[in-house]
């Protein structure tokens, strides 16, 4: 099986979120970047598990500059065989998806994996876009995936429950919690990763259809009102009369 895993780079979950003086750009100063947890913990690890069980190869694809190579190396250390980096500063989701779709079409993969969303822009769009551009079925928010020959059985998260679907390869899937367990790369993996190839390819021509023009911080919360633990009637009254939520 040929598996392609889309990986992106995001600020660490504890990173302080701030912007430049004009509030038009994310301030990356002092921020540690990681592989998007959904891409790493769920999509990539499941792809590596499938390779271990059924044979095949796992290729990573990332759209970005050379400063993304550290994140890509981590993916190689976790167990991917090789990587393709489309050399382009990040763009709108549709632009990025067009880059990934070009790679996906070119490689003839059986499954294209991505995370359910990135923890920075929280878009959850890339998987569906790549699927449409490649005319493939797309299963979003998958919490399990089992292969039987070329047929997959996938559970996907829906409102208040799960839906189990069947689909034949090739397809695109976005991975949510439950798909796999986080793997910490071992020393051997890290050593091997250094020798695995990262192929850099030029971007295909595509425009940005949307742009972020500004950022703001959420409105600050008013001071927390402390309630006497002996007087829960008071809390109920405030929720009803002041906050008007019950």
């Amino acid at each position: 099986m040929k598996l392609l895993v889309c990986v992106s780079k995001t600020p660490d979950t504890t990173a302080k979120i701030s912007f430049n003086a004009e509030n038009t750009e994310f301030n990356a100063q002092g921020v540690t970047f990681i592989m998007n947890p959904y891409d790493e913990w769920y999509a990539l690890v499941r792809a590596v598990e499938l390779k271990e069980k059924h044979g095949g190869t796992v290729t990573l694809v990332n759209v970005g500059g050379a400063d993304n190579d550290a994140v890509i190396r981590k993916g190689l250390a976790i167990g991917a065989d090789d990587a393709i980096r489309v050399d382009m500063p990040s763009g709108s989701s549709l632009n990025v998806a067009k880059q990934i779709a070009a790679v996906a079409k070119d490689g003839g993969y059986d499954i294209v994996f991505c995370g359910k969303e990135t923890i920075d822009y929280n878009g959850s769009e890339i998987g569906g876009m790549v699927a449409e551009l490649c005319d493939l079925p797309f299963i979003s928010y998958a919490s399990s995936l089992e292969m039987d020959g070329t047929n997959a059985t996938i559970a996907r998260d829906i409102e208040g429950g799960k839906e189990v679907v069947e689909v034949a390869t090739p397809f695109v899937v976005s991975a949510a919690k439950g798909m796999a367990e986080q793997r910490i790369p071992n020393m051997r993996g890290i050593m091997q990763a250094r020798r695995k190839p990262i192929k850099v390819v030029p971007a295909v021509d595509a425009a940005n259809a949307s742009t972020i023009v500004g950022y703001e911080m959420p409105p600050a919360k008013a001071e927390c009102k402390m309630i006497d633990p002996e007087n829960m009637e008071e809390l109920v009254r405030l929720l009803h009369e002041e906050a008007k939520v019950i």
Binding site: P11, L94, I119, F138, S140, Y141, G178, P218, M226, V236
Partner: protein, 320 residues
């Protein structure tokens, strides 16, 4: 030109989130000076009611291939309806289906997109909308410059506003591709309120000491008609099911009221819940970071306070 809203039905009926989306679509149409139309895939007994929330016309597509959910079939139906309605702006709900469709439809229509918006577009020539980013730690303003635009609207951001009368419902004939995804089973948690759409949420963390103590949390959720949620470690050690895990790496929610009981308020937890309108924190540690994000706080042992709170809520419900 018009704005087309894909109003999702559930089991043959439109629910509140669909009315919210159409209210949003109508207001967006007003900003753009065009009309608003709604699309229902499958049938909904109350489809005409979308007119009250601003749809000038309701289009429906009934086709057996829409019974199971395959995003490419839905995308094809919505794109054809947008064409028929002369719509260059399509509004989806930011639901499980909406999140699945937003990217696919944007690619199909070669449209700029904004998933999970929570404010109306600007009204100054440019089309700009806002959405939460960095898991709720900031808000981004996105400008969509392409002719076609696809956005999905966050649940519970807009209250449905009924002003008009029922709209005409017209069946649209479209040609749909064959489904490639077949649905084998749908397993919904029955009897309880689904978390992503809940207006009231009672959530508890490691401070509960063990799964056997959750009866007081479930009792509270019962009294309030609330959904239950939990912190990540609680789901990881299997005290509670995974679908209850909220936060940056779990479900992101924005209920009207969020009770955080025995949860410390780690940044990754806050990221998924800090858009809640009102937050109540019960924690015995006065230094718990959650108090900084709370509207109301009770600093005490939860095993003392929650039963008392439940009694007070019962009394309130009996009187209300």
């Amino acid at each position: 030109m018009s704005v087309l809203v894909f109003a999702e039905q559930q089991g043959g009926e439109l629910k509140k989130a669909a009315f919210e989306a159409v209210t949003y679509g109508k207001k967006t149409a007003d900003v753009l000076g065009v009309d608003c139309k709604a699309l229902v895939l499958g049938s909904a007994s109350n489809a005409a009611e979308l007119g009250k929330y601003g749809a000038a016309e309701v289009l429906t597509v009934s086709d057996a291939s829409l019974d199971g959910f395959d995003g490419s079939v839905y995308t094809s139906a919505i794109a054809q309806a947008a064409e028929a309605a002369g719509a260059s702006v399509v509004v989806l709900m930011h639901s499980a289906k909406g999140k699945d469709l937003v990217g696919r439809l944007a690619a199909k229509m070669d449209a700029g997109s904004a998933p999970g918006v929570n404010q109306l577009p600007t009204n100054d020539g440019a089309f700009r909308v806002k959405k939460n980013v960095f898991s709720g730690k900031a808000i981004a303003e996105i400008e969509i410059s392409s002719a076609n635009k696809v956005i999905s609207v966050m649940g519970n951001s807009f209250q449905p506003e009924a002003t008009g009368a029922d709209a005409p419902v017209n069946e649209l004939s479209v040609s749909l591709p064959a489904a490639r995804i077949s649905v084998k089973s749908v397993d919904k948690v029955t009897g309880s309120v689904p978390l992503p759409e809940a207006e009231l949420v009672v959530s508890a963390g490691r401070g509960m000491k063990g799964p056997e103590n959750w009866n007081i949390i479930e009792e509270m959720a019962d009294i309030l008609g609330a959904a239950t949620a939990c912190s990540r470690p609680v789901a990881d050690i299997h005290w509670r099911p995974h679908h209850e895990h909220v936060g940056q790496t779990g479900v992101a929610i924005r209920p009207n009221l969020y009770f955080a009981i025995g949860i410390s308020g780690a940044i990754q937890h806050l990221a998924g819940v800090n858009s809640s309108k009102v937050i109540v924190v019960i924690n015995k540690d006065p230094e718990a970071p959650f108090f900084k994000a709370a509207d109301y706080g009770v600093c005490a042992d939860l095993f003392d306070v929650v039963p008392k709170l439940n009694e007070a809520l019962k009394k309130f419900k009996a009187g209300a």
